[in-house]
Symmetry: C2
Subunit: 349 residues, 2 copies
Amino acid sequence: MVTIYEVARLSGVSTATVSRVMRDGGGFSVATRERVLATVGELGWVPSGSARGLVSRRSGIVGVLFPDLAKSGEAEEESPLYVDQIIRGAERAATAAGDAVLIAATSSASGRDLAYSVAGKVDGLVVLARSLSEDDLTSIGRSVPVVVLADDSARHAFDFVGADNRSGASSLTKHLIDHGYREIAFIGGPAGAPDSVDRFTGFAEAMTAAGLAVGSAPDADGGFTETGGERAMQAVLGQRGPSLRAVLLGNDQMAIGAMAALRSARLRVPTDIAITGFDDISSAQHLRPALTTVRQPIRELGEQSVRLLLERIADPRLDTRSVILPTEVVVRRSCGCRKGAPARSGGHR
Amino acid sequence: MVTIYEVARLSGVSTATVSRVMRDGGGFSVATRERVLATVGELGWVPSGSARGLVSRRSGIVGVLFPDLAKSGEAEEESPLYVDQIIRGAERAATAAGDAVLIAATSSASGRDLAYSVAGKVDGLVVLARSLSEDDLTSIGRSVPVVVLADDSARHAFDFVGADNRSGASSLTKHLIDHGYREIAFIGGPAGAPDSVDRFTGFAEAMTAAGLAVGSAPDADGGFTETGGERAMQAVLGQRGPSLRAVLLGNDQMAIGAMAALRSARLRVPTDIAITGFDDISSAQHLRPALTTVRQPIRELGEQSVRLLLERIADPRLDTRSVILPTEVVVRRSCGCRKGAPARSGGHR
DNA sequence: TTGTAGGCGTTATCAT
DNA sequence: ATGATAACGCCTACAA
């Protein structure tokens, strides 16, 4: 393996000079520069990130920790698109700042070790909801700057970034109520998911505000997956009977599953039952009927997280901050709106 | 910042012992272990990855370099889903081996520097097609193990992983010919994309084999994007006139755009014109008509790349290898098949 | 403009 | 079972 010493020797200069040239710090003649760069090229030398990181105390890497939601084996994944978008956003913000992004999925199995190993390699960590136990989160938070994404329970202790789920769900529910629907069900995601909780809260708020009855919990848990949504829809159909007029699904994937269940049950969307989702994944507009949903700026969630993180790394004594990004109801056909109707309700909040 | 020295001091042992405990290397009493682990917990100490990497000559990180295909500003991205899946696959394989994944998008602007910086931080690199110039690729390839993904032009010099684009496109074309279509057009991706080239080759092969005329290049370039596909479709409609019976699009996103263009032109799919895509993104099955396409195992592409990479890192003197993953035609409705027809043609090759 | 030398936080070797 | 101590490859005062 080639090192700075060899480059220095072959160029007839000291390692200090090589270092200066590489970092473009100035303090060397043009001729020297040429010579050094030439040997670097010949040797194909790349400075060791580890050595650099050791002396500079900065790896130039930010980490993103997300939950590994692929169940054992072949089963479908919970929300691939969501995490992917977060990662893309993070990558973008990091690159803009000259940093790289390290990603790691924490399954409960390997989770702990991996998380600590990652923590040692990065300058800071963006931690998605449900990727770490509370204990591990606080523990890791003591050794490296952490921004928590979408888990507002950790909001007091860390910088926090999230979408306005509550208000998005509430606006959407209001829209359905305006349609004249009274019997409305809510199918949530997995029990532990903060996103799901917030969306249900928004739903319940709007229902209560309209004087309609709501339970204290979602009608069913669809696990945020397509098949989960399908099963949950069937269950809810059984429970609530034929008076049911509309169903809010906690995300778009479950809505896709729900529409399949309805098709099997020979129920028409939206004529017999209106269906809505959450996220606005790209498939949503291609479904028939096209899916009414709530768009959340997932990519920006990732970007903001890294930005906050970078700022905290630069100045660890900052007050902890929370950033809540707005959501937006996207009206299509599955809620019962017709072609003539406005394509989209205004933003809110 | 807390270091191993402090942990050692507070535990009343030497740094060597702390190190042994952390790496679980044995050679310490249970009591010592307890004591060290306790202080580690109190201090919230995490060993420095840089220091470890420096001495072990292994960062425990593999890098993935992909092209930044977001055009300047707001424009749509070329193939987000493809890259995302690759990354997921890479993450999975790396985690299985106890490594982490570093990702970086190389835009032509920041590209060079970023790539070299990344190369210094990782044990090896998976490089997607079109993320690096040929020169940079060879240069970087000299300082760190490289696996090239989907760019078969670099196949002789590096380990290579790709999908069998040619054969997938050829099978699909054959299927269209079996439908009885004679006038078939091909809309490709951006000029530089190896995937696009290979798919066109497969198309041309099948056409020629059936005694049908083909040009030496795709009928149009849709840039792999939805709007690009829409525009290209309009153009081809103008060029080829009303006798055109089928169009192969180089990927699913362009096919979505093409279907929009056809709708505007009051042409019915597949009655007036049959449409096919490539990739089998999740939207494909939700389109109306559902899209006939070719599935390529994108996730596995990422997994295989990392696996090959890790093997090469373990033994740099291995012969260079190529892995070609099979593709599979997925028959739905947009090609003209009816409900009764078999849902899927057999795999091939 | 250039060189010398100490130190960054770990691990590994060699003693004890 | 445990401790000194010398690397690891680079950067950065400090000198010259």
